[in-house]
């Protein structure tokens, strides 16, 4: 109780060496390798997703844009052919999604027992042996990144493969991506800095002020 109060009053210092994640939707081919790799690496239960891929198809037949979004089985087994007149397609692309590891995570704020927290490296984690399974954090996450593990009766989500990245490896999804659509590193890393400086980068749902650490390249306004 006293420890909780101290933790509440004195916020731990943030490291400058934080991790970030960049997704280039132009490179994503929607193959689903990342979803499969994540499931295998983290023993994600069936029909639950730590990461998934969405397909956006924006069409117009002379009228204002129509937006069609889908993610069958989280994109794990790829996507079927489109049933749309090709001439009507304005743009179409895939968008991988995952936990945003926000700098101001609403999930951490609402957890009643401090079972979820943000590490010095900026990774949002869950202590599954402490989680009471109230599901409040799932409600608070605007990105739908958290799920309830019905077997373990606790909440779970993407950790950016914390067990790997703390050993100098990359997350499983980044490692298996055949086109390099997923990029991971420390904020100060040269390749990350180059991307963040030079290209048109955006975050999802900026109006909620969650300060996500997953950045997106080449996505339209229709992605949130």
């Amino acid at each position: 109780m006293i420890g909780s109060l101290a933790f509440f009053l004195i916020k731990p210092a943030k490291s400058k060496d934080i991790f970030v994640y960049v997704v280039d939707s132009k490179k994503c081919i929607g193959c689903g390798s990342c979803v499969k790799a994540c499931r295998a690496e983290n023993h994600v239960p069936e029909r639950k997703y730590r990461t998934w891929v969405e397909r956006y198809v924006v069409t117009s037949n002379g009228e204002l844009e129509n937006i069609f979004v889908e993610s069958p089985n989280g994109g794990e087994f790829g996507f079927g052919d489109l049933d749309v007149d090709e001439n009507e397609i304005l743009r179409a692309y895939f968008v991988p999604k995952l936990c945003m590891h926000c700098d101001k995570p609403p999930c951490v704020k609402v957890c009643p027992v401090n079972a979820t927290w943000i590490t010095e490296e900026g990774v949002v984690l869950i202590d599954k042996s402490h989680c009471i399974g109230c599901k409040y954090c799932i409600q608070a996450c605007p990105y739908g990144a958290r799920y309830f593990n019905h077997h373990e009766k606790v909440v779970d989500k993407c950790t950016w493969c914390y067990h790997r990245i703390m050993r100098g490896m990359r997350p499983a999804c980044v490692t298996v991506c055949p086109t390099g659509a997923r990029m991971f590193g420390k904020l100060q890393d040269e390749h990350i800095q180059k991307t963040l400086r030079e290209r048109n980068i955006r975050i999802l749902k900026p109006e909620l002020n969650t300060r996500p650490k997953v950045f997106y390249e080449n996505v339209g306004w229709e992605v949130w």
Partner: protein, 384 residues
Amino acid sequence: MTTTVVEGFVYPNHEVFWGVLIVIYPYFVSIITGMVTVYAIAEFWRKELKDIEKLVVISSLPFVLSALLPLLLDLGQPQRAFEIYLTPNFSSVMAVFGIVYLTELFTLLGEMWFLFRVDIVRMAQTESNKLLRLLYRILTLGVYDISEKAIKLDKKIIKILTGIELIAAWCLSYVSFLFGVVKSNPWWNTTILPVSFVFGGLAAGGAMVLLLYLAFTRAYGIERKPNIISTVANYAFYFMLAAFALETINTILYAYKEDIAWAVIKLASTELAVPLAIQVIGSLEALLFLKYVCYRCNLGKIDTPFIAIASVTILVVVFAMRWNMVIGAQLIDYSLRGFVSYTPPLWGREGLIAALGVLVAPFIMLPVVAYIFPPYERKLRAGL
């Protein structure tokens, strides 16, 4: 599977995570707030309600105790529930409510003890049943002083405790903050929600007091007083009117503004046709009946069926309001591109049978509490 995708795109992890049990939790909390408020009104302002003080206090206890049941049943790891007190996160509304809940429980118990202290001492000395006599002796906590001076002090303490309890009950009722702070969900993220929630709760508590007054006066053979019914019904009327007006304003504002979430809220509302109809039609019916009850009581006449129908209607309406708030908001996916439907399972920890058990739990506890702490002295039924 209790959640099914009805239309559009939903994030693949989306489910209705909080089911019927989490509808009951704010419902019970609402009733507690209303009952405690009626008690505070009796204690501080309306002396004509003094007759129902004991009844309201003993009836509040089963609801306060039962309010924990739905929460515990809903938790994935209920055995860790106590962690809320051991490692609380003070920025979490849920953790703060754990503390407010304990405050409410202990002030209520203290209030009961002081209110019934004279009765407890008398029973400890005169009760013929040995077991009950022992129980009352324990309940005296070794204090047998029932002199005028001691009773005067009791009354002062009761006033202080009532003040604390009222604040705690209102804070508990702001359980709606638990939903209101979720900025991701457009249905919950409104300023009006916590206020309308409190007013709905006050109306439900008033309705429950009216129903219990009818039941207890019948069971104890006590003559019903029109001014008691009229006062409580009048409060319930205005509280219900405020709740109904705020909910309506909220919906009209949303529809007029037509922001990005409105399209999906409008569609998801079709899944809530029945509870929404109950909410609107029931509110109007209850308001009409309550005004009629007040009018009749002012003439010195008591229309029991009308009082009962109006009270039950309010309780059903407020339940529908909670359903729409808790379930309705979860039908919308945070992608704001689709919605799901929810059918509670019949069996299991989060099923309808368990929910029904939780709903009747206070009414199972109530006769036991009333047996130990009788709110009235038994009279002959001939008086009715």
